[in-house]
């Protein structure tokens, strides 16, 4: 029985290779869109993780803070559940850092009679508390202290990266779905034409008592093979895009193996589902 299905499926692919290729390419393109966005999303995720490690809250202090008050403030902040480490940066250290990091302003800084830079406390957060919400909460709490002039934590761009990731995900899902629908329609047409081409055979199969499952199997196999070919194509295209961009435009990480294999299998599943749905409609009409 399996032999019959395989032989018939191969025969059908041979009879109409153009249609089979069109189906495979359309599945391939839809998964390529998903794959590309997956690649982007994965790399944004990696970047986010490294950015999150560097997320810190900086509290700028008023100049009139006493040593005892500074000590109390540091101890207080250290006791927060979210906080990993607290570093004090004095006015002098702030000036030295500024002169080191901003070479072009070195002369301007040297000419100053009074040091305009405030002292600050840099607060590092524990790994579990580096998401935007907890960073914002810690910043708010610190801002309540009377000797704290201002609190900064690069909130805008942490938020932006998160937004970018969400947007990327949404675009990938919408475009991927649109392409998947196109792929399903094309496979549906392919199966319908295959059913039409084998109309006489199907009628005779029914006549002599072949089961519905037996009649369906070669068509489903054809859909599965076409879908898997599409999945493989998507894998190659995505890898090609990765190879082109990586190193020349930006440094990228390739997808985890599970994602890539899942993509190729999704192609097979898409092919199977599309031909199953098309058969459901067209085989009944052949009765």
């Amino acid at each position: 029985m399996a032999r019959h299905s395989i032989r018939e499926a191969i025969g059908a692919l041979r009879r109409a290779p153009g249609l089979a290729i069109l189906s495979a390419v359309s599945i391939g393109l839809s998964l390529f869109v998903l794959g590309t966005f997956g690649l982007v999303a994965y790399n944004v995720e990696l970047t986010l993780q490294s950015v999150e490690q560097r997320v810190e809250v900086v509290a700028y202090l008023r100049d009139d803070i006493s040593a005892a008050q500074l000590e109390a403030l540091q101890n207080d902040i250290r006791s927060f559940a979210e906080v990993e480490a607290v570093t004090h940066v004095s006015k002098f250290e702030a000036m030295r850092n500024a002169m080191q990091q901003l070479e072009e302003f070195r002369e301007v800084f040297s000419d100053l009679e009074v040091n305009p830079l405030p002292a600050s406390i840099e607060v590092q957060l524990k790994p579990d508390y580096r998401a935007p919400e907890s960073v914002a909460r810690v910043a708010e709490l610190i801002a309540f202290y009377p000797f704290v002039e201002d609190v900064r934590y690069g909130r805008e761009w942490v938020d932006k990266i998160y937004q970018l990731r969400r947007l990327g995900g949404a675009v990938a899902v919408i475009l991927g779905l649109a392409f998947a629908v196109v792929a399903i329609l094309i496979i549906g047409t392919t199966v319908r034409m295959a059913v039409m081409a084998r109309r006489e055979e199907i009628i005779i199969m029914r006549l002599v008592g072949a089961t519905d499952g037996f009649i369906r199997r070669p068509f489903l196999l054809e859909g599965l093979v076409t879908g898997l070919a599409g999945g493989l194509l998507a894998f190659l295209l995505t890898y090609g895009a990765f190879w082109l961009v990586d190193g020349s435009l930006i440094d990228l990480q390739w997808l985890p193996p599970g994602w890539a294999a899942g993509g190729a299998l999704a192609g097979g599943l898409l092919g199977l589902l599309a031909s199953g749905a098309a058969l459901r409609r067209h085989l009944i009409l052949q009765e």
């Binding site: 009628i203 199969m205 006549l207 008592g209 072949a210 519905d212």
Partner: protein
Amino acid sequence: MIKLIGVYKEYPRSGLALKNVSFHLRKGEFAFLTGPSGAGKSTILRLIHMAERPTEGEVRVSGFSSAHLRRREVPRLRRRVGMVFQSFRLLRDRTAAENLAFALEVTGARQNEIKAKVQRLLAQVGLAAKAGAFPDELSGGEQQRVAMARALIHDPVVLLADEPMGNLDERAARGIFELTRDINSSGTAVLMATHDLDLVRHFPQYRVIELAEGAVVYDSGIGEDASEADGAS
């Protein structure tokens, strides 16, 4: 064995095709189903083959009933009911032997059984020498013989023949009719739809069920029915 009980069949567009049709075809019986075109002969054959279900009433075939039959049981019923048509319905891109092998393959027969069975059936219908011929290389009568062999492939209890000689010249038609009688004499019941009244008159020993406008207007087998037990159904 085959029983139609108060069967009505109505189509949405063309209206009532069968009206209160009842008859009982016994095991091994030979019956003609006659009547003009459109009288409902083919509809009855399609109902027995369960390609369609009655709108009202019941069709019973060898233990299966149209009232309870599930879709997935239909293939099992069809292996007990052979069917041939006026148009032969052979696959043109396969030889006579391959047409028969196809019917076995798609019903899950084992490869080692197929060859022997195909040869035996081709011999039975007198075409052993033409196993490798394609349908277009065979005469009409020979093509119908291949179709008959295919209908017998699962040793059915009944052979349904829908105008089997309709496309044949007189000599070929006679050959096919003789073959049908041979099949019947080996125990397979035959229900043959035909509008050839000369043929029907020529064989008065066979039962005649005559249809007109979807209703049975004459049944030479009536009366015998009551005295016999309902065998397999």
